[in-house]
């Protein structure tokens, strides 16, 4: 079971162990991590599960594909950076065990 560590803007950490194949969005929503609403249900359609991938993990998660729906949506999200991803588009594997995802300030 790989673990994701969600980090709130004030530094509070939420480590969550999930089955491989679970998306980071589902992990957050099912465990009531504040600041990740995931309104569209994980369809890559709303950008309410915006996270900043910790720099050390970017190589493994990759960036949002330029010109794709995820990148289209992220451009309107507040505080969007090169490290921005939608958590619904990150599927957990053993390789991502320990993944650190920061919740942007003011996702609410």
């Amino acid at each position: 079971m790989p673990t994701i560590i969600f980090i709130e803007p004030d530094g509070v950490e939420y480590p969550i162990a999930v089955k491989s194949g679970t998306t980071a969005r589902d992990a957050a929503v099912n465990n009531s991590v504040p600041g990740i609403d995931g309104d569209c249900g994980g369809e890559c359609a709303c950008a309410t599960c915006h996270v900043h991938v910790d720099a050390a993990w970017m190589a493994r998660t990759g960036m949002a594909e330029p010109g794709g729906m995820e990148a289209n949506l992220l451009q309107f999200a507040e505080g969007s950076t090169e490290n921005s991803r939608l958590a619904c588009q990150i599927t957990m594997t053993d390789d991502l065990d320990g993944l650190m995802l920061r919740i942007p300030d003011g996702q609410h």
């Binding site: 249900g41 369809e43 359609a45 300030d105 003011g106």
Partner: protein, 417 residues
Amino acid sequence: MTTDTLVGDPASTVPLSQMDVSDPKLFQSDMIGSYFARLRREDPVHYCPESAYGPYWSVTKFNDIMQVEVNHQTFSSEAKLGGIALQDMQSGEAALELEMFIAMDPPKHDAQRKAVSPAVAPSNLVLLEPIIRERAGIILDSLPIGEEIDWVDRVSIELTTMTLATLFDFPWEERRKLTRWSDVATSTPETGVVSSFEQRREELLECAHYFKGLWDQRVNEPPKPDLISMMVHSPATRDMPYLEFLGNLILLIVGGNDTTRNSISGGVLALNQNPAEYRKLMADPDLIPKMIPEIIRWQTPLTHMRRTALMDAEIGGKKIRKGDKVVMWYLSGNRDDEVIDRPNEFIINRPNSRHHLSFGFGVHRCMGNRVAELQLRIIWEEILKRFSKVEVVGAPERTLSNFIRGFTHLPVKLYVH
């Protein structure tokens, strides 16, 4: 349409091939629900070959709507193709050729949206919250106790207009102009709000002229966090042609006005129609944040958004042809029991209450959704502090529109703790 003169329930007797859900009267009488229920059951992607708005497709199921929402490459919002509502934006009589980013496709849409979206971003809203709360308190404290008042006029319109005036930094004493322009922008002569398309045109030009004055004033001032100042100073919007300037202003006015206004009224009605839920709320005001999305789903203040197919496509097994008008009925998708459990019940602590279609999805998702939720949360927090009951004491009057789902009158009486 003669639906109101038929014997029996026309929603179940009219042949599917003749079913036309675009009649504004069906929405005003709130009879539309049974029509949509039948379409979801019998013909979820339905073609209406003839209507006052020409032929159109109705997409009525939640997941089919989502599929159209996220495919903006196929389903266009472009104004020149008709735009985002059943009623074509640039059809003959209405011919004020407004342009607004809600009715544009990427990439132009993206640039303009990005220019104004910081005004309603959460970090800006944090600054707005105490102002909205203070104003909400003043509105509520001015209401008489125990006598009949119109909730629509005294609270819903007043609060949303105040918020909008704050977002625009609009001259305070004249803020009801915003309400009027919003009403005019979404109306046709048949609604009685304006008597002719000429009058509508004149009033909207007056709106443009007024805002041009504010624009000229702010262009010479340092940038501020209001919507006009942002548009004036952003490279994406500062050289906008006149009708595009007017169009985007009207978009922001309507977007921030009608929708929240009607959700404020709709929440009062829903709680009165579901007294057990009202009691639940009074017993536990911490349920408010959870209740707000449920109110927005329940009300669905915009019944639909429309797209135009840029190429042949398929939705729910139906062949859509290039050029076809495709209507996503949010009001129907929000009652789809395949996605929403017990959708015809108003449940203030519904799990997954945020999973609704009222804000749309994809790149056109409502830009002001956080402002809307903020206003609704604050108004309910302030109501609960003051009143033991906001009681609906007469029949609500609903808006004559197939686009805006709202109220023109909601008589209530207030009781204090």
